[in-house]
Amino acid sequence: MAQSDEVELRPRLPLGGESRCISFSSQMFNSPLAFKASSYAFQFLVRNWPGPQLIFLILSAYRGCVADVSNNAYRAHRQVDPSLNDWMYFLDCASRIFRFISWTLQPILIALLHSFKEINMADHSIKGKTVLIAGGAKNLGGLIARDLAQHGAKAIVVHFNSAASKAEAEATVAAVQAAGAQAVAIQADLTTAGAVEKLFADAIAAVGKPDIAINTVGKVLKKPMAEISELEYDEMTAVNSKTAFFFLKEAGKNLNDNGKICTVVTSLLGAFTPFYAAYAGTKAPVEHYTRAASKELGARGISVTAVGPGPMDTPFFYPAEGADAVAYHKTAAALSGFSKTGLTDIQDVVPFIRHLVSDGWWITGQTILVNGGYTTK
């Protein structure tokens, strides 16, 4: 290696002489193992040294190689034929340098671009993700919590609304912990913007910024419009429309990039039927929040969706329904003959939500009904 022109290389690459440079690069180019190794090396470099430093590093490595090459070539030529003039020598060097660069630069660039691509593609699996579930203590939300824990989530925040759900919240926390994830239960009435803000702040303080935020909160009312009081109307709006709005707002502000947000609505959004004006009507806005939020958050890689299950076999569903209505709902889905009661089983909704907040990330802005063919929109 040249002595007087030695350039401080960081790191010191095992190069010396033109032929060794070329053989090194062709090895990298032709050997998958060497290519992979150099790709990982570049990923390590890119992750640990910011862009400008890395470019400097690559350029200084090149400067070292080129200086080495040109010095060796110069000495070799002078030894062989002192009559060679400097102009011819310059051309000869230039052609050697060009050949050298094209041999070595190409595989290095390929490895570099490959490593950049791998870094920019996000990891969409559930593994290692932090999850916040509003209404995560019981029913559909409780099963989602257990399911995501089993699929490798790192931490799950289980929100619940009232003291009556505390025992179920604790049972869900225990089940999540048994599956190997961190879990914490937080109680909050989410019908004000401030409460939703606080939920996210408390969740972040407990387990860090969420990657996935799922809102399963809802309230049913089944009555002719003529009989709905102002109090009932306001309560339905607060729980179904306002909570969902500010949950989306706060999730958008607090989620990690490439995160996922999903809100649970209702298959009644595809129905044409009396008595559900206050329920379908107050869940309907979520579809429009979802559309706007997906456009507003897309630049950060965040997917935003809504899922409308059919009527589910849970304590959420039965209180509002008379016996005749229940009998109708149990036969109304095309696939009613194949679920446990004819209603939607929560086990048939959870995998779809899990898909949306992981591999299904390319679905965004959509409201999708998962209901065995109960209604369609």
Binding site: T237, S241, F245, A284, H288
Partner: protein
């Protein structure tokens, strides 16, 4: 590409009303938001076709304009009642209907043109803005429909204005489209509940119109975008939508209920 220029649309063209139709003789109509814009146009056209009209306005600052509309109604030989009500308070929806029935004996037609636009990203919405938007666009509409469900005459017609943006997929409309979407579901539910009395309940989803209602929430950039999507590169006019609105509350439309009709110069079109 463009068959009809924006300038041609501005010229008067024959409408059912202008060619002498008298579809609403003997009918009483409540027009909510009748002091200006589309509501004002509809109040006048209904009177021209024989209806008695209740001219509703929401704040005292609009009383003079409401009185002008009432004068036009009377000019057509029909009776008019002006009535101020802040419909975000359900009791005032009751008062509006009771006043109408007290004067005219019945209400056959309810047209609700009221609305409010706040257009910004979710991240910038304050709670007070959410409350205001939902109070005006959803809650007031709900309690009007509730009153109508109890007091509208058999074979009545209810028409609510939503927005064409409920069929759009765009940023900044979470609040506006979100707060108008409930009205579609209120209408559909009511359509089923009142069908037995042969009352039809529908929504109209106009696109952006060249009126004072539209501009306050808009930026030049967004106006340009909306215009670029229309069939003639412009906004719609009130006269473009009054024909459809009147049809939907006419006797001829008895078989149309639970629908949302989009009339927007082609800026968006939902599949279903």
């Amino acid at each position: 590409m463009v068959a009809i220029t924006h300038q041609e649309v501005l010229k008067t063209f024959p409408s059912a009303t202008s060619t002498g139709a008298r579809r609403f003789v003997g009918k009483t109509a409540i027009v909510v938001g009748a002091s200006a814009n589309v509501g004002k146009a509809l109040a006048q056209l209904l009177a021209q076709e024989g209806a008695e009209v209740v001219v509703h306005y929401n704040s005292a600052s609009k009383q003079a304009q409401a009185d002008d509309v009432a004068a036009v109604v009377r000019g057509h030989g029909q009776e008019a009642l002006t009535f101020q009500a802040d419909l975000t308070k359900p009791a005032q929806a009751t008062a509006l209907f009771d006043a109408a029935i007290s004067k005219f004996g019945k209400v056959d037609i309810l047209i609700n043109t009221a609305g409010k636009i706040i257009r910004k990203p979710l991240a910038e919405f304050e709670e007070a803005e959410f409350d205001e938007l939902f109070n005006v666009n959803a809650k007031a509409a709900f309690f009007l429909l509730k009153e109508a469900s109890k007091k509208i005459a058999d074979e009545g017609r209810i028409l609510s204005f939503v927005t064409t943006m409920v069929a759009a997929f765009a940023p900044t409309y979470a609040g506006y489209a979100g707060s108008k979407a409930p009205l579609e579901h209120f209408s559909k539910s009511l359509a089923k509940e009142l069908g037995g009395r042969r009352v039809t309940v529908n929504c109209l989803a106009p696109g952006p119109l060249d009126t004072s209602f539209f501009y306050p929430a808009e930026s030049n950039e967004n106006i340009g975008w909306l215009k670029s999507m229309s069939i003639d590169g412009g906004l719609g006019n009130i006269a473009d939508i009054t024909g459809l609105a009147l049809f939907l509350v006419s006797p001829e439309a008895r078989w149309m209920t639970g629908t949302t009709s989009y009339i927007n110069g082609g800026i968006v079109s939902p599949i279903n």
